[in-house]
């Protein structure tokens, strides 16, 4: 299926709508990284921006739309101190109406007991600031700042 894409470039930012499925997420990340504001970041920060956006968007693909791909809109706005991100989808609400904490396993966990998932929210919390989730009508709105280094 060809992803339904809509791209706008408001004032140095990026406003992109696409279908949330793993391969569309990958293609859309490539597009986001190649255009402002993310293409203007230093390489190491671009890597972290890609990681955070991949985690958020794959969560949307996997958990907001478990029955099949649905639309997601990403708005990236350059601000003082970093890049402000807003991710909006029309899928299922987050469990309990809030963002998962993302606890890590203890350093003494036996290899056999290590989790094979759940690292995503920990990475998102570690690499963002002002992480905010709102359920508005039928929409999930997740916003956060990707801070500039230093």
């Amino acid at each position: 299926m060809q992803p339904a894409r809509d791209v706008q470039f408001p004032a140095g930012g990026l406003h992109l709508t696409f279908t949330a499925s793993p391969f569309d997420v990958r293609d859309s990340l490539a597009q986001m990284l190649a255009t402002p504001p993310l293409c203007d970041l230093p390489a190491s920060m671009r890597g972290m921006a890609e990681l955070v956006l991949a985690e958020v968007l794959n969560n949307v693909a996997e958990h907001a739309y478990p029955a099949g791909p649905g639309p997601v809109t990403v708005t990236l706005t350059p601000v003082a101190g970093g890049t402000q991100c807003l991710i909006v989808d029309q899928g299922l609400a987050m469990p309990g109406g809030r963002v998962p904490v993302g606890d890590l396993p203890s350093a003494t966990t036996d290899v056999g007991d290590l989790p094979e998932g759940g690292f995503g929210w920990h990475l998102i919390h570690s690499l963002t600031r002002d992480l905010t989730y709102q359920r508005t009508g039928a929409c999930n709105r997740l916003s956060f700042l990707l801070p500039n280094e230093g």
């Binding site: 890597g47 794959n58 690292f119």
Partner: protein
Amino acid sequence: MQLQTQTRPKVISVTVIDDRIDAATAIQFKERMRDITKDGPARVVLDLARVQFLDSSGLGAIVAVKKHLAPDRALELAGLTPTVEKVFRLTRMDSIFTIHPSVEVAVSHAASA
């Protein structure tokens, strides 16, 4: 998902040819690794020098391969690029894996062991 293997007497090294292990390819990676390491040397070194991007799905798949090989066989890592290294550090998985600067170093460890 393209993987290249080299088998030595005590260690098999697996080089990931793709430049990313992400949500789109993690399951395929896990299955290919299970096939490749079905039997063979006790030490498996995963060469990630070409991998520029690893997300939590990719990390989960690498952890799953390590669990699958345990307790008799070990999965070690080599050649982490800066972004990949940071994913391991932020999730503290760097304390779970033996990490070598390069596959060559990892293999020379085997020779001296």
